[in-house]
């Protein structure tokens, strides 16, 4: 229960129209895109500037109130779900792009800006902000930074952390700190910026960010290649890398995914096609044809069944169709899926897939996997099928075990949030965990910021 004095002070601070305690608003802030985790806050506040954020944190500190930052609420691991109650700090009003510095290739902006809006803004002047998660159209840059989001261009361009140069952050005690700078080369002090990137809102509230942008590639080419098995596709990936070509996008679909999409939208896959690679190269127009030729040759050496190239924007859309139709297509196989999001070192993807096949057989379940081949990130969908019995949760444990054995990570794109907290020790040993707990305690001695996320209390 929130203390009445706290409520009154909060109302006084931001005004009645930017904080709410009404029951229906608590329902509206009880979720993110995670299908299961929901918890209602006791209040919601929408600050407008960093001073307000700082004052709110001071108040929360004084009255021991939990604070959970929230961006677009598109996270998959319940990161912005206020599992311990307290207040949600909604960052929607921090939605301004403050400066586009074309000469230094950087943008200064507030965390509530939707990523797509940032991309559109720099696109106008021939620049590109490369991180491109599938949620670009509605996730915020603050959420992307807090989750270190990755996307389909990660193979060549890397993930969010490669683009964050500096941050302004409000700490749980209300202090406003600034990390990093506009300088590419900067060793003035510890690299605190990267500590905040991927910290899932547990160390501080981001109120401003300096991000890097790059020149927009002149052109791109899109192609797909199908193979009998994912091993064959993996061989092809190695062969492509050996030619020196670095695709910007390298997505894969396994046999079950290919079959599901074929059944749902009929893109012309033959029964022997058990794996699909979707690739894009970008760069200067005149160089791309030869890159495509090299990729094609590499695929042909590795037993490609069908190789398709997009000649127009419409063709490109056609090639992307299978990838885009995937989630919908998988819903046709089963309505209830257990999902996981993991990563393994890229060369071990085939090994991981083999292990998944074994697990599927052992538990008599269906496992569909797809994802970003280039950064080793695999999305795993597991089900007993339509009308199948309850899902054997032991199978999920076995998947995680397999990931760990291959030196993979139990969370890749979607963070730990509150759904994987109990599993972090699979990846992090006790001394390392202890260090992490001390870091958290240093930033947030009372444990008020986004409680219940990332780590269990030590």
């Amino acid at each position: 229960m929130l203390n009445q004095e706290f409520i009154n002070s909060l109302k006084q601070l931001v005004g009645e129209d930017r904080c709410t305690f009404s029951p229906e608003d608590m329902v509206a802030y009880s979720y993110d895109a995670n299908p299961e985790k929901r918890a209602k806050p006791e209040g919601v506040v929408s600050p407008m500037n960093r001073e307000e954020v700082s004052e709110i944190m001071k108040l929360a500190y004084k009255y021991d109130v939990f604070v959970t930052p929230r961006g677009g609420g598109s996270g998959y691991t319940g990161g912005c779900v206020p599992v311990e109650g307290g207040i949600v700090m909604a960052m929607d009003r921090f939605n301004r792009i403050l400066e586009v510095d074309r000469d230094n290739f950087l943008v200064i902006l507030e965390p509530g800006v939707v990523v797509k809006d940032l991309q559109a803004e720099v696109d106008k002047i021939g620049l590109m902000y490369p991180p491109d998660p599938a949620s670009t159209g509605f996730a915020t840059i603050g959420g992307n930074i807090a989750e270190n989001a990755g996307g389909i261009r990660a193979v060549k361009y890397g993930v969010t952390k490669q683009y964050v140069m500096g941050l302004e952050v409000v700490l749980p005690n209300g202090d406003i700190v600034k990390t990093g700078s506009k300088c590419i080369k900067d060793v003035a002090g510890y690299n605190l910026t990267e500590l905040f990137v991927g910290s899932e809102g547990t160390l501080g509230i981001i109120t401003k960010a300096v991000v890097k942008v790059v020149p927009k590639p002149e052109a791109r080419r899109t192609m797909t290649a199908t193979f009998a098995t994912l091993e064959k596709a993996a061989e092809a990936v190695s062969a492509i890398y050996a030619t020196g070509v670095r695709p910007a996008t390298l997505e894969f679909l396994d046999r079950i995914s290919v079959e599901a999409v074929e059944k749902a939208i009929g893109f012309g896959a033959k029964p022997e096609e058990g794996a699909l690679l979707l690739m894009e190269v970008d760069g200067s127009d005149h160089a791309l044809d030869s890159e495509v030729d090299k990729i094609q040759a590499a695929c042909e050496r590795c037993g490609v069944i069908t190789f398709r190239k997009a000649e127009s924007d419409e063709d490109r859309e056609d090639l992307w169709k299978a990838r885009r139709a995937l989630s919908f297509a998988l819903c046709e196989i089963a309505t209830e899926w257990e999902d996981d999001d993991v990563s393994v070192p890229i060369a071990r993807i085939p090994m991981m897939i083999r292990k998944l096949d074994e697990i599927a057989e052992r538990y008599n379940i269906i496992i569909a996997n797809f994802g970003h081949y280039g950064d080793g990130n695999i999305h795993i969908g597991m089900t007993t099928g339509k009308g199948g019995g309850p899902f054997p949760m032991q199978a999920k444990q076995d998947v995680v075990k397999a990931v760990v054995e291959l030196e993979g990570r139990i969370a890749a794109e979607h963070g730990i949030g509150c759904v994987k907290v109990e599993n972090l020790h699979w990846n992090i040993d006790e001394p390392t965990m202890k260090l992490m707990r001390s870091v958290k305690a240093l930033f947030d001695p009372k444990g008020l910021l986004n409680p219940g996320k990332v780590m269990l209390k030590g």
């Binding site: 608003d25 329902v27 993110d32 895109a33 299908p35 677009g72 509605f138 989630s327």
Partner: protein
């Protein structure tokens, strides 16, 4: 029939919204298109918020009170969220279902009731009312220069003194035109909608002129009723059902595949989807509604898909191109997915490419009675639209819905900086025809 208990009613509500609750994965994609959320970024106004709150209401976890009602009232039913949603969730259906439940629990607000009651009156009464109204109006309102609209000399409760009010026609369109063309020619059935019938009759006459020019006869069924959108929006399902029945009687079972054309985006949406969304499982009525739905085409859709392009171009005079910008009515673009066709018509009519404004798809803020019931927010949404339109410096703003025309003219009157005329695309096409 015994009266339903509260629990039974809530079970019905839950059944109506369950499908959308199941579909919504709470990804947040709908946040980026909602004009209400754009104005006031609060999760309660988003489609996913409304869906989640509707479920809680139906389950009895939340109360039916003024506060919860406010957020369901704060929806323009623009269908932007539904058309954006990758999972196919329909928050607009949820809003309508919840408004029905609220109407039942708390009654319909007087303002909305007045509009709905008027429009569902029998035709003879409405016609007489409009005749008297058109005279009375001239006494009560001042004319607005440049447009055929008025604004009031006196205050009216609940309505802002500045509100643009369209002039009522002395003679309703349906009283003037019953059939126009030659027997034996191909024909269409024209569903006029209230605004065209009682006020912006020039839209109806333009449609007739163009189609007759193409050798197509226009039949105007006399017993057609208001499409029922305003009543659907205020949660009066029983009234909508009556309108649906009347319209089935007036329009359905025409035998051969005669198109029903409309020049109003909302009427088109109602005929194509609105009735079926609500009464799709309603046996015999549903069959009639499907018949209407399958035959309905927006006028620009009709011209672009059923008419020979050269023939249409042959009707037009070659003049210097006019710069026109185009506003996409929500119920045309988002609900009916008609984007290219009105632009193609407009290009023919003006002899040049459309001078596109920033975010042509953004809602104009009308939302039926939303513009009266939630005036301040509606005006802010409207102002953005007018700014975007004015920035194009076009000579004329075109759109394809009489409701939008009303709202855009009102906006232009309020926002100094432009006095752009606003017209229906079909009107511009008719004006471009050879004498």
């Amino acid at each position: 029939m015994t009266k339903q208990t509260h629990e039974e009613k809530m079970a019905v509500l839950l059944r109506l919204v369950k499908n959308e609750v199941d579909k919504c994965i709470r990804c947040g994609e709908c946040r980026t298109v909602c004009p209400v959320f754009d104005d006031t970024p609060s999760e309660r106004y988003t489609a996913r918020g409304k869906i989640a709150i509707a479920e809680s209401l139906a389950r009895g976890d939340l109360e039916f009170n003024g506060h919860t009602r406010e957020l369901f009232d704060n929806c323009l039913l623009c269908t932007g969220c539904a058309s954006q949603c990758s999972s196919g969730a329909r928050a607009d259906k949820v809003v309508i279902a919840v408004r029905e439940a609220f109407a039942d629990e708390m009654g319909v607000p007087a303002l909305k009731k007045a509009v709905a009651e008027t429009l569902s009156l029998p035709r003879a009464v409405l016609d007489a009312g409009a005749r008297i109204g058109s005279v009375a109006q001239r006494l009560a309102f001042k004319g607005v220069p440049g447009t055929s609209g008025l604004y009031r000399r006196f205050a009216m409760p609940g309505v802002d003194k500045e509100q643009y009010v369209p002039q009522l026609a002395a003679k309703s369109f349906r009283n003037e035109v019953r059939f126009s063309g030659k027997p034996g020619q191909p024909r269409v059935v024209f569903f006029t909608g209230c605004m065209t019938n009682y006020s912006m009759t020039e839209i109806g006459h333009s449609l007739v002129k163009v189609l007759n020019g193409l050798g197509v006869s226009v039949e105007v069924p006399q017993e057609q009723a208001c499409c029922g959108m305003p009543m659907l929006a205020s949660g009066e399902a029983d009234v909508v059902r009556k309108q649906a029945e009347r319209n089935v009687k007036a329009l359905a079972n025409d035998g051969d595949d005669v198109a029903i054309v409309t020049a109003c985006a909302s009427c088109g949406h109602m005929l194509k989807h609105g009735y079926l969304d609500r009464f799709g499982d309603d046996g015999e009525l549903a069959a009639g509604l499907r018949n209407i739905a399958e035959r309905t085409l927006d006028i620009s859709e009709y011209l672009m898909t059923r008419v020979d392009r050269e023939r249409l171009e042959g009707l037009l005079e070659k003049k210097a191109p006019v710069s026109a910008t185009y506003h996409d009515p929500c119920h045309l673009r988002k609900a009916q997915k008609i984007v290219k066709e009105p632009r193609a018509v407009l290009e023919m009519a003006t002899g040049g490419p459309v001078n596109e404004m920033r975010r042509p798809e953004a809602c104009c803020g009308l939302g039926g009675t939303y513009c009266l019931a939630n005036m301040e927010r509606s005006k802010r949404i409207q102002a953005k639209k007018i700014d975007d339109a004015a920035a194009t410096r076009a000579d004329v703003m075109a759109t394809a819905c009489p409701g939008c025309i009303l709202q855009l003219r009102d906006g232009i009157r309020r926002n100094v900086g432009t006095d752009m005329p606003v017209k229906h695309v079909i009107q511009l096409l008719a004006e471009a025809m050879k004498k």
